[in-house]
Symmetry: C2
Subunit: 210 residues, 2 copies
């Protein structure tokens, strides 16, 4: 299993490779991939060894082959079964986004506690009551549970997903949550990111580096 | 200037401290803060030295004082002037979120190219045409520019913000962008995060660690 940073770069390479493929580019050198992803050529070559792919020194990497190699590593053939709890503004935006990413991601259901939402198809996906999580998710091995609920419900939402067998969680609620060792968690506090960007922007402004 | 990771932890401590304050907690030990943020006590103590705060060995840290110390470091008294380009689903969700975070964040304007949106107040903030970026942003020193546009427009959006003096960018477009050295950039590719979570979730499932 590659380290997290390597995996992040591989995902980024694939995004850039797919853009190049869409523009008709057939081959790229490690330098091109490095330039387009903010990496460096030696790093690119090391990372691509992880997926077992080495380019041709004269022509570089074959774009389509390399996309396939990375896809094979990242994506189960049957797609990635996922779910989401909390179908507010952010939840809706994320669900809308994923509806364009089929069949790679397969959003099987969303959950909420609002009676006005339950039983309806929202942003293209059926919404159920959170009490139905065990029943609705039972047929699936969910690889990604997205939490977009208010702060007060975040830990409970995580606990409910984990009890239903979910082993990967992306938490967008504005509070950190805790998960047991067998669950992979990414805390995605947008406010944290925004405060961090603003902080370093101020240092750039006051430092006069521009 | 503290390292990025220290800054991220300080922001997280503040989130947790504010939750404790809201529940009437007046004092916390480094161990409590560590438990609630997934850190460890020695790390907490080192981090809090950066903000120049040391607790009382008997009573721990005074919650309100510590919040103020971190706030003083993170927040300019006048708030954080910010802007957003691309007022689609995700942009709308983010703008709605920030309207609840006033006066800390001050969203001065949003921008789009869709004539149906321009001139309207959307999610509580006036939307202008991207061509008006230089004029509308001129009175402000913008510390945070959020990009929520389609892939094809992402680099141009960044270039327009930077030309208008923005020195901190959070990019949610599904493609990496490039910025000059004097600009702080966070690439927030949600798909990347989701693929990563799913990947490690699969390894947790197959590894049988649960």
């Amino acid at each position: 299993m590659p380290p997290t940073k390597t995996l992040e770069r591989l995902i980024m390479y694939r995004i850039v490779l797919e853009q190049n493929a869409a523009q008709g580019v057939t081959h790229l050198f490690s330098k091109d991939l490095a330039d387009q992803t903010g990496s460096n050529p030696a790093q690119v070559r090391r990372d691509l060894m992880v997926v077992g792919y080495s380019g041709n020194p004269q022509k570089g990497y074959a774009v389509i082959d390399l996309i396939e190699k990375i896809r094979h590593m990242l994506e189960p053939a049957e797609g990635i079964p996922m779910t989401l709890i909390g179908i507010g503004n952010l939840g809706r935006a994320i669900v809308g986004h994923f509806n364009r990413l089929k069949p790679k991601f397969n959003l099987v259901a969303t959950f909420d506690t609002d009676e006005n939402k339950i039983g309806r198809v929202i942003a293209g996906c059926q919404c159920y009551h959170v009490n139905e999580i065990p029943k609705v998710l039972a047929p699936y091995i969910i690889q990604l549970g997205i939490i977009t609920v208010p702060e007060s419900y975040a830990q409970k939402a995580a606990d409910q997903l984990i009890a239903a067998g979910v082993r990967g969680i992306a938490n967008f609620a504005p509070t950190p949550i805790r998960v047991p060792a067998g669950v992979y968690l990414e805390n995605m506090q947008l406010t944290l990111t925004f405060e961090k960007v603003a902080y370093f922007a101020r240092s750039k402004i006051s430092g006069g580096t521009v």
